[in-house]
């Protein structure tokens, strides 16, 4: 039913739409900036005023994935002609791609990107999994000192984690966990677990316990009831928690910088390390950052239905 609106309400509504549009533009501006820089020719990246219209090119991405050196003298024409299209782009910039025999040497970016994926995915699965079980326990059973325990779990987040970075580093070095995937995964699970427990506790409390009780009298064990009834009902909560845990682990910078340097280094500390000396290559850095944004964007996009859907939808009458 359409409500009758006064002219002031209409004006207010329009103002709200404008405000939302402005806010959206402000939030999207850095994303646009990174994305456009990733496709710009090198010389336009730092032009003042900024160039908005340009011929996009993928050269920054080619540079991102290859090892290159500056050439002392121009490339010989027959070599240039024989080179594939992407290698020509590198020659155009006065550089050449490093090769071992005929194989192109890849830069460290794919490896760092893979490290990020491994650490973020595994730590997210562990944090959300453990958080879900813990939250279920707190939600369904009488636990002595429940409130104190929950507060204790949360209290691990009452200090900026970086405060303990130095002792953590020393401990990690002592037990040989520095510069290892497992080391970072343990750290990120520890950061995310309290958050995951609290968030999942809220979602678990929302799931009526009659569902499990019905399953229990229907002939299932509590474990079966948990997997067949509670988990599907908690899907929304699990998706939301997973998105937040993934983003935290994916974007973590400080510990990754301190705890890793080669083998297990993730993308966040790696990307700025490529600024190097001399004139920074902003387009390559932007290309790396742009690719780095994609997994979170895709992950969130895939789970968007779960994020928006209500926890239960009307099968319990209250």
């Amino acid at each position: 039913m359409a409500a009758v609106r006064t002219s002031s309400e209409v004006a207010l509504n329009r103002a709200a739409i404008v405000a939302v549009l402005v806010a959206t533009l402000i939030f999207l501006a850095p994303i646009y900036w990174i994305a456009s820089t990733a496709f710009k020719p090198k010389e336009l990246a730092v032009s003042v005023p900024p160039t908005v219209l340009f011929q996009p090119e993928v050269t920054p991405f080619i540079r991102l994935f290859t090892k290159r050196v500056q050439m002392q003298k121009p490339v010989e024409p027959q070599v240039y002609e024989a080179a594939p299209w992407w290698e020509k782009r590198i020659y155009d910039g006065g550089e050449r791609v490093l090769k071992v025999g005929k194989d192109v040497q890849l830069s460290q970016y794919p490896n760092r990107f893979m490290n990020s994926l491994i650490v973020a995915v595994i730590s997210t699965v562990l944090a959300v999994g453990m958080g879900t079980f813990t939250a279920y326990g707190f939600s369904r059973f009488k636990i002595a000192g429940e409130a104190d325990l929950l507060f204790f779990i949360l209290s691990t987040r009452m200090l900026p984690p970086v405060v303990v970075a130095i002792p953590m580093f020393l401990m990690y070095r002592m037990v040989g966990l520095n510069d290892s995937h497992i080391g970072l995964i343990i750290l990120y699970v520890a950061f995310n677990l309290s958050f995951s427990v609290w968030l999942m506790k809220g979602f678990m409390d929302e799931i009526p316990k009659e569902y499990e009780e019905a399953a229990l009298v229907d002939g299932y064990t509590r474990m079966q009831a948990f997997f067949k009834i509670v988990l599907p009902e908690a899907a929304t909560g699990i998706a939301a928690t997973a998105v937040f845990c993934f983003i935290t682990a994916w974007n973590e910078y400080a510990f990754a910088l301190i705890m890793t340097n080669r083998r297990a280094q993730t993308a966040p500390p790696f990307i700025p390390s490529q600024i190097g000396s001399g004139l920074p290559d902003w387009t390559t850095i932007a290309a790396g950052t742009f690719l780095f944004l994609l997994p979170v964007a895709i992950f969130t996009f895939l789970l968007r239905n779960h994020l928006l859907r209500g926890v239960t939808f009307g099968a319990i009458r209250k």
Partner: protein, 367 residues
């Protein structure tokens, strides 16, 4: 063939005892209703039988076998919850099939069993729907279907129609009765609604503060309440309960209420049946239909004044001032024209109940 027996059940929630020494034997195929106000222990008793609640003392026997240490899954009992608890992520078919899937039954048999139950409950056309798309009555049918499908030893129902609106409740009440007659399974049904209890039960168990007050057929608990609690809890409109004094005359007994002069006339045998209780501490219970009202004076009738009239459609409830007390009487609709009208009333001795005021127990006097 399932008999259920509860022996000396006690249950504590922390320091609070919610069930006191509860004993009850339920026969095969019997429809038992646990009736009481919220917090009386009826749902806890039901959940204890289902295995969702532990007990602190006593035995729960199903077909003579103690089951109090068995998990809910191993008791072979089905339960219908007030909230229905249909699994929202499964369609109706899967909801009904869910208990069968726990038994690793073949999918052909599952299909057959589910469709048979759906046919009996008249929900065959809903099998593909999700619970969220169902009406309240259909949700309840599905919940009952899920309970019936594996032919459990017994059915437990926890206020299964309490969440429905009044009209649907009446419909579903009839349907539950029809199903019980047709399927015949030992059923324990919890409700706070005495009309539901009266209309469904073979026997009613009335509970109050964790104690069984009376166990009996609907007629028993209505016509022969064991104590003041049952007398007031069962029956609508509520039974009149008043302190009464009894005096003997040459060929009658007089029961006086609220210092009203004269008193109501009763047969003289009341005195011998009361057996000395006439001296004091006596409470009279009389249902509104046992208070007879007429406009003209007549032998045995006492003049009283009508104070409030509640028209209830097919009849009226009239509050009569008897001395300092009120008696509610049931009359034909419109029989008493308005407040302040002077009418004449009598108590039907056959419908009178007498209780010991201190203990609340019925004195078992029938005239």
């Amino acid at each position: 063939m399932t008999q259920i027996e509860l022996r000396g059940i006690e249950k504590f929630f922390g320091a609070v005892q919610v069930i006191h020494n509860l004993n009850l034997a339920i026969a095969d195929n019997e429809f038992i209703v646990l009736l009481g106000q919220s917090g009386c222990g009826k749902t806890t008793t039901l959940r204890a039988i289902a295995g969702l609640e532990t007990i602190d003392k006593g035995d729960i026997l199903i077909d003579g076998k103690a089951v109090q240490h068995l998990k809910a899954a191993d008791r072979d009992i089905a339960m219908v919850f007030q909230s229905f608890s249909l699994y929202p992520h499964m369609n109706v078919f899967e909801n009904i099939a869910f208990p069968l899937r726990a038994t690793r039954m073949g999918s052909g048999e599952v299909d057959k069993a589910v469709r048979e139950v759906a046919r009996v409950l008249r929900i065959s056309d809903l099998l593909e729907k999700k619970p969220s798309a169902l009406s309240g009555g259909d949700m309840q049918r599905v919940a009952i279907g899920r309970a019936l499908v594996r032919r459990p030893k017994a059915m437990l129902m926890d206020e299964p129609i309490g969440a429905l609106d009044a009209k649907l409740r009446e419909e579903m009440r009839a349907e539950i009765k029809r199903l019980h007659v047709k399927q015949g399974s030992t059923t324990i049904y919890v409700t706070h609604d005495q009309i539901e209890a009266m209309s469904l039960a073979d026997r009613i168990v009335i509970m109050h503060e964790g104690f069984i007050q009376q166990v009996g057929t609907p007629d028993d608990v209505y016509s022969r309440p064991a104590n003041l609690f049952v007398a007031q809890f069962v029956g609508s409109p509520v039974m009149n309960i008043v302190e009464a004094g009894v005096a003997g005359e040459a060929n009658a007994a007089r029961v006086s209420i609220g210092e009203a002069p004269g008193g109501f006339e009763f047969p003289r045998e009341l005195l011998s049946k009361l057996n000395g209780h006439s001296s004091g501490g006596l409470t009279l219970g009389i249902r509104p239909e046992g208070v007879l009202v007429r406009r003209e004076a007549a032998p045995g009738y006492m003049p009283v004044e009508a104070q409030i009239i509640e028209p209830l459609g097919s009849f009226d409830i009239v509050d009569l001032k008897v001395g300092s007390k009120m008696l509610r009487a049931r009359t034909k609709a419109g029989y008493v024209s308005g407040p302040g009208e002077k009418v004449h009333a009598r108590i039907d001795p056959e419908q009178a109940h007498f209780f010991d005021t201190a203990s609340g127990k019925s004195l078992g006097v029938r005239l």
